[in-house]
């Protein structure tokens, strides 16, 4: 009636075509991601899972990394780990032409432990400071120029690259404080790295609690702290924790900040094997992401390295993805539950 | 009775209005009764009380208007509620006029009482009975929102007019025959006319009652259909 029909037909065609373009673009992204998951899942699965009971490669998950020795012995191809090779040597005195491939035998147990320690420590730190800071900013501070400045600073720091945090941690903790490459340095570096994100997310959660609840409580004669404790935090906390889990995924997944603050490429002792308990904090650890970096770029590549590369990547991916999945599921539930 | 309003105060205000109307009507009825009794029984006291009653009725009229405006202001009544309020405000002057007529009757009765009794006073009795019945029925129609009763009252006004005319004629004749009692007869004529007017007011009340109950304005209808 208003537009000419031909005009309308054209615009309807255009609409259809463009929507298909959008759809293809979207599915292309999904496809790429799926390919990555499948590739790592299948190839890594070969390392981590076994065909026979208990179906999980327990050794890979519970042993430290070792050097792999490959050689031909009596026409048979031998692939032995460091320890096995030494044992084998005790029985076989003859000289063999050995190719040694570092890290390619054994497992990744210390890396898993190290990553867990790093995550737990840094998140404890970040959550404690971050939530307190958010409470102060959103509930107590009076909106002045200074507070606004701080808010802008925090928002912007959230986007600073992790490598810069690594650099900073290296400069401050490792060198200036002299903590060297240690758990403590790693905790602080990682903790400070996620701090802006946690403050922002926490503040957002606090802000999502309707002002009406605060006013309602204050109008009943509650003090500020009573109001916060009974009528703000309980409703904000689930949101804060949910978004913090995303922070955990990020902490667990980062490599750059720990490269020179906390991670060792190889360490024989487990973290609890320390002479004095204070040393616990000042020891470097192995970590999954750094291990992946090391095995995929620092050692010569050959057919024997693929096993440990994909295996580590697989384990790491599964761990991080599980954390992320938890966070996403929790958030979906949260969104559905909270509707004031 | 219709169900209650959510606003209890609305119900209260409406029923207060209604009660005032009914109380006013009751008072007017009593006044009229007393006035006529004063006439028939030649009792000056009754006449005086009848005249005194008027004051209260006047105040009730003002009260009803005040409350009516108050309800309009506060509750913005619609439909039956609005009709009830409007009817109450419109019929209260009629009751007031009935009371006025009763006062008139009482005044004239007092004058008559100063003279020897006239036998023709009996002529008033059926007129009074008719007028009073109409008035009672009209308030009843309003109180019980009875449309049929209301309509019936309107129809009965014709008879009253007729009775009044007859009384008029007879009294005028008597007057001509007995010029000595001229003033007495004149008073009786006026009393009869007052009672006729009571019927008119009862008709008005009945019309308002019909309006309140059925949203129908039945005033001036015979004429209207005639045009």
């Amino acid at each position: 009636m208003i537009a000419a029909p031909s005009n309308r037909r054209r615009s309807r065609l255009l609409e259809r075509v463009l929507f298909w373009v959008f759809r293809i673009g979207t599915y292309f992204v999904l496809l790429c991601a799926t390919y990555i998951f499948l590739d790592i899942g299948i190839k890594g699965g070969r390392t981590v899972f076994t065909r026979t009971a208990p179906f999980v490669n327990v050794k890979f998950l519970t042993e430290p990394p070792q050097t792999l020795y490959v050689f031909d012995y009596q026409g048979k191809k031998m692939e032995l780990s460091d320890r096995e090779f030494r044992e084998w040597k005790t029985t076989h005195k003859e000289d063999v032409d050995v190719t040694s491939v570092s890290y390619s035998a054994g497992g990744i147990w210390p890396c898993i432990v190290g990553t867990a320690l790093l995550v737990i420590g840094s998140m404890t730190l970040a959550l404690f400071i971050g939530i307190s800071c958010a409470i102060y900013l959103s509930e107590y501070s009076r909106d002045g120029r200074f507070i606004r400045l701080i808010r802008v600073a925090i928002l912007n720091l959230a986007g600073v690259p992790s490598i810069v945090f690594g650099l900073f941690g290296f400069g401050l903790f490792v060198i200036f404080f002299g903590w060297n490459v240690s758990l403590l340095s790693g905790w602080f570096t990682l903790g400070l790295m996620v701090l802006p994100a946690i403050i922002t997310a926490s503040e957002e959660s606090l802000r999502a609690v309707p002002q009406g609840l605060r006013e309602g409580s204050l109008a009943l004669g509650a003090t500020k702290w009573q109001t916060i404790r009974k009528n703000v935090l309980p409703y904000a906390l689930p949101g804060i924790l949910t978004s913090s889990i995303l922070g955990i995924a990020r902490v667990a997944g980062e490599t750059a900040p720990i490269m020179f603050t906390a991670a060792y490429a190889m360490r024989d002792e487990m973290p609890w094997q320390v002479s004095h308990w204070t040393n616990f904090f000042f020891q470097g650890v192995m970590a999954l992401p750094y291990h992946i970096y090391v095995v995929s770029s620092k050692i010569p590549q050959n057919e024997y390295t693929e096993r440990v590369q994909y295996g580590t990547a697989f384990v790491f991916l599964v761990v991080v993805m599980l954390i992320a999945l938890t966070s996403i599921l929790l958030r979906e539930r949260q969104r559905r539950r909270l509707s004031w | 009775m219709p169900p209650k309003h959510i606003l209890g105060t609305f119900d209260e205000a409406l029923s207060s209005l209604r009660n005032n109307v009914l109380m006013m009507a009751g008072l007017a009825e009593r006044t009229l009764d007393r006035a006529v009794k004063g006439l028939l029984q030649r009792d000056d006291n009754l006449c005086t009380t009848a005249i005194a009653d008027d004051e209260e009725i006047d105040q009730l009229e003002k009260q009803i208007d005040k409350e009516g405006v108050d309800v309009l202001l506060r509750f913005q009544p619609v439909a039956s509620d609005l009709r009830r309020v409007v009817a109450a405000m419109k019929l209260s002057p009629n009751i007031e006029r009935i009371a006025d007529q009763a006062t008139n009757i009482a005044r004239r009765a007092r004058k008559l009482n100063r003279h020897p009794p006239l036998p023709e006073v009996e002529i008033i009795v059926p007129i009074q009975a008719h007028a009073m019945a109409m008035f009672k029925d009209s308030t009843d129609a309003f109180a019980r929102e009875n449309v049929d009763l209301g309509r019936a009252v309107v129809a009965r006004d014709k008879d009253l007019d007729h009775m009044n005319k007859m009384a008029n004629r007879r009294l005028t004749d008597r007057m001509a025959q007995d010029p000595k009692q001229l003033r007495g007869y004149l008073n009786l004529i006026f009393i009869s006319r007052s009672l006729e007017r009571v019927g008119d007011h009862a008709t008005n009340i009945a019309e308002d009652a019909v309006y309140a109950a059925a949203a129908e304005d039945i005033r001036h209808q015979t004429v209207a259909t005639a045009t």
Binding site: I2, A3, A4 | P2, R83, A215
Partner: protein, 280 residues
Amino acid sequence: MVSLVEMPQAMPQQLSRQNDRRADEVNGAEIMIDVRDLDFAYGANKVLHDVTLDIPPQAVTAFIGPSGCGKTTLLRCINRMNDLIEGARITRGAIHLGGVDINAPEVDVVDLRRRVGMVFQKSNPFPKSIYENISYGLRIAGINKRSQIDEAVEKSLRGAALWDEVKDRLDEGALGLSGGQQQRLCIARALAVEPDVVLMDEPCSALDPIATAKIEELIQELKMQYTIVIVTHNMQQAGRVSDHTGFFYLGKLIEFGPTTKIFTNPSERRTEDYITGRFG
């Protein structure tokens, strides 16, 4: 009224419209929107039951009723705005607009909506300039001639009694207007595409009494030219602005008739109880 499907392209001759309308009337249709035996459901939740009513042209029709009784739903059926809601559908009956079934497959919903304008409860001007707000509908209809648009903008702003207040700042943002002005801007925007019907869903509920009065006044003026359907919570408003009123209760149309009748002497006990405040 000619069929939606076959109606000739009328828009470019904007001015011919009023004449068209008069011609329509001569053709005799006294019903603009004809809702017949309508059942409507959101998923499994049936919210309208057997609604039948005839909305006359060039008049204001009001829907009243307690919250959740389906007023908005019926209104949004008329321009098929409910198509946007998943699972929402008419399960029985039909709505005819000028004799054409609006849910017939050959009816273009875009055309329908252009013909049936809508104004929402919360004023929703686009975050653009006043001018762009009004011209939006014209542009999407493919009209790009500046002079034509200028003319239509002025006309519809005048129609919405807003021209004098904004004529000097057409290029300023619409969000700078006051609440009442924004709502009138939304009305002007709806008028710009020259609809036949304007649907309004509680257009004054977010406004203060003064702004409300202005919009009511506007509605009174608009009904000379448009068929207006309005949903309102404010019974007095329905009494003031509308010529016909429908009372809904629990998804049923309890009573439909001239507003004066409904408000002085409704036939149904439930209507009376609702409008006099005897409910619940």
